[in-house]
């Protein structure tokens, strides 16, 4: 009977990690629904970006206050999680604070003391975050796309962290031998007196309960990630690694278009040539994107990585002047639609059944797409190098090349370019007139 806690722990751990692994598989399958794009080049540059931007948080601190608070929570998260390793070993083998014996009192005390101080700092930062989201009048947290679930999601994550940190401190405060040893309890020693009136048995029960809820909470939180915006704690790393390294102004040239244009400009091409044997049934490649499966896998990874901070939207000239476009919403819509496609595949035994919906119109409207100035402010701002602009551009390409659905004035501009080589209606023969007009 004495092994029951160990067995229960092992089951909980296996279930928590197993369920998480299952969702990660789903996540990776969904990302792979995207088209291929080569991001295997320039490995050292990519690695450096990942180290600087994801691990080093270099872009986060461009906004000093939220950046600093984020670094506190981030460092706290990583370092306090070292404690989870001890908890797992203790849980599986029925030991108690196994590292204390292994590392020695001084070093162990130093570690736990660090964890305790970080836990308090995290608590303070998280409370400030909550205030920023719910009390302070910060525009990027009040946008339309943040109403409902996204707001609740953001708060839930903060509540999770408050509870986990409090449990960690309670667990230390009610651990009688630990308090008596007096090592590594710079914070919990002030919480311990609150429990003075409790009997040793009651204290033990509280300590065990806090311990159990703490580790179960971590497992639940781990599995909450997939359903929340919080996936960035994992995906920020691959996302910064695979991000675009070319100048931001460089948009890709569609290869499918290049082939057709070359054919058009080739004087020896036979316009009446019969199609190659067997090519009749080939579906020609779609130009641009109307649904998530037309996007590439990096764009889909971007969507899962987005944590909805809204720095992009708060720097977007269109959004700042009251237009409907919000780069954050582009990313949220892309993820929502991708999840919908993923669920569709799950319920239809691995095959997507047309649901009469797509990313364009059902999620993102042409009005949003046409409001973009392609200024790259959103791309520049993103702390984890997400590129909303590339999605906007791919969707514009679909509107123009597949649907001829550009705004009328843009059609006129393009007709002018075709006819007289300038976006305005001037004669190409007058192109040098400026020379003599002083």
């Amino acid at each position: 009977m004495q092994y029951i806690p160990n067995i229960l722990f092992a089951i909980a751990l296996a279930a928590g990690i197993g369920f998480f692994a299952m969702n990660i598989r789903k996540l990776s399958r969904n990302i792979n629904l995207g088209k291929d794009v080569d991001r295997k080049d320039r490995k050292s540059e990519r690695f450096k970006n990942m180290m600087m931007i994801a691990l080093g948080q270099s872009k986060m601190v461009k906004r000093p206050l939220s950046g600093f608070l984020h670094v506190v929570v981030y460092v706290g998260f990583i370092i306090i999680n070292l404690e989870v390793l001890e908890i797992i070993i203790d849980g599986l083998f029925g030991t108690h604070r196994i590292f204390q014996g292994v590392l020695g009192d001084t070093f162990y005390g130093f570690l736990i003391a660090t964890f305790e101080i970080l836990a308090v700092l995290v608590l303070v930062a998280v409370i400030l975050f909550w205030t920023r989201r719910n009390v302070a009048d910060i525009k990027r947290f009040l946008s339309n796309e943040m109403k409902g679930w996204p707001k609740k999601d953001g708060n839930l994550i903060l509540y999770f962290e408050i509870v986990l940190m409090s449990l960690f401190l309670t667990m230390n405060a009610t651990d009688v031998p630990f308090q008596q040893a007096g090592i590594g309890n710079p914070i919990s020693q002030f919480i311990a007196p609150l429990f003075d009136s409790f009997s040793p048995e009651a204290l033990h029960t509280i300590e065990r309960t806090a311990w159990w809820i703490h580790i179960l909470g971590i497992l639940v939180f781990l599995n909450y990630l997939y359903y929340s915006k919080h996936l960035h704690i994992l995906l920020a790393f691959p996302n910064t690694y695979f991000a675009n390294l070319n100048p931001k102004g460089q948009f890709n040239n569609l290869d499918s278009v290049t082939q057709e244009v070359k054919l058009m400009m080739d004087p020896s091409a036979d316009p009446y040539a019969a199609p190659v044997e067997g090519a009749e049934n080939e579906v020609p490649e779609k130009f641009g994107a109307s649904d998530v499966t037309d996007l590439n896998w990096v764009q889909l990874l971007n969507a899962y990585t987005c944590t909805e901070c809204g720095r992009c939207t708060s720097s977007c000239p269109a959004n700042l002047t009251g237009k409907k476009l919000s780069p954050r919403k582009i990313m949220m819509d892309t993820r929502d639609r991708l999840e919908e496609v993923g669920r569709n595949i799950d319920t239809n035994k691995g095959e997507f059944k047309d649901d009469g919906k797509q990313l364009l119109n059902d999620y993102i409207t042409p009005e949003e797409l046409w409001a973009c100035t392609s200024c790259n402010a959103c791309v520049e701002e993103c702390p984890v190098n997400i590129d909303p602009l590339s999605i906007i551009m791919d969707m514009r390409r679909y509107l123009v090349m597949e649907q001829s659905a550009a705004p009328q004035e843009l059609n006129m501009m393009m007709t002018n370019i075709e006819n007289n080589g300038a976006p305005w209606q001037y004669n190409q023969q007058d192109r040098l007139n400026w020379v003599n007009e002083d």
Binding site: Q250, N253, L254, V257, V261, P317, T321, K324, I417, R431
Partner: protein, 259 residues
């Protein structure tokens, strides 16, 4: 004004040092034509051996590409590349950051590989080579703010070339709260220049002009013909025409050097 044309040069068996890509705005737009002429004056002063394509130049296709028309862009690009390659062009300079960006970044994979400079970079080089000096007395002490063009700044990380030239003018440069990588767009990019804005509560160029006005400038300097138009319209909207002028950096340099 003497502006050599590539075809004539070719006929005389000459190859200029650099091709000046004028761009559609620089060729046809009244405000931008002044930029082209100012730049030519500077080229002459520095004795740069240059040429333009003249009537053989056509739209880079940039506006079409940003509007989503990849077909039209690539047709324009390939046509231009044929012309440029036929003249064996190696170096290009342009006053238009949009042409700069697309020629530099998007033409190479279509077969057009050139060394491309924005005019502020090119002038910076002329100064470094001792071929040009900027008179720092004409504008001495004038309050100036610089609006970063998106396709020069964020798109290509060119922030210092224009600022270096501005410093040489002897002006008092005051940066806007949003500048360099956080600069706000003027509202013309992404083919917005050619259409009305979507419904909203303000025009982007008005917001950006307000950023500029906060610095209490006498001059708003830019490095892009489209930005110049948007900022000029913004200043007009704010009824500040009598206090603030909007000029491209090359116009200021030409004026400073009394060209």
């Amino acid at each position: 004004m003497n502006v050599p044309v590539m075809a004539d040069m070719m006929a005389q068996g000459k190859q200029p040092e650099i091709l000046f890509w004028v761009g559609a705005a620089g060729s046809y737009d009244d405000k931008a034509k002044k930029i082209s002429r100012a730049f030519v004056k500077i080229l002459h002063q520095a004795k740069v051996d240059f040429a333009v394509l003249g009537t053989e130049e056509s739209s880079t296709g940039d506006a079409a590409k940003r509007a989503g028309n990849e077909f039209l862009f690539q047709m324009q690009a390939m046509m231009n590349i044929e012309v440029l390659n036929a003249y064996e062009v190696k170096k290009i300079v342009t006053c238009d950051p949009h042409s700069f960006n697309t020629l530099k970044n998007e033409y190479p994979s279509l077969g057009g590989k050139y060394e491309v400079y924005h005019h502020t970079q090119f002038i910076q080089n002329l100064i470094a080579e001792g071929r040009l000096e900027i008179n720092n007395t004409t504008f001495k002490g004038k309050r100036l703010t610089f609006h970063d063009p998106c396709y020069l700044g964020r798109a290509n990380d060119v922030y210092e070339s224009p600022r270096d030239l501005i410093k040489r003018l002897g002006v008092n440069l005051t940066e806007m709260k949003r500048h360099k990588s956080t600069a706000l767009c003027c509202g013309a990019g992404g083919a917005q220049m050619f259409k009305d804005a979507e419904a909203g509560d303000k025009e982007v160029n008005v917001l950006r002009t307000e950023d500029a006005i906060e610095t209490k400038p006498q001059i708003i300097a830019t490095g892009c013909p489209y930005c110049k138009t948007m900022m000029t319209d913004g200043v007009t909207f704010k009824e500040k025409n009598d206090q603030i002028v909007v000029k491209d950096i090359v116009e200021l340099i030409a004026e400073a050097n009394q060209l």
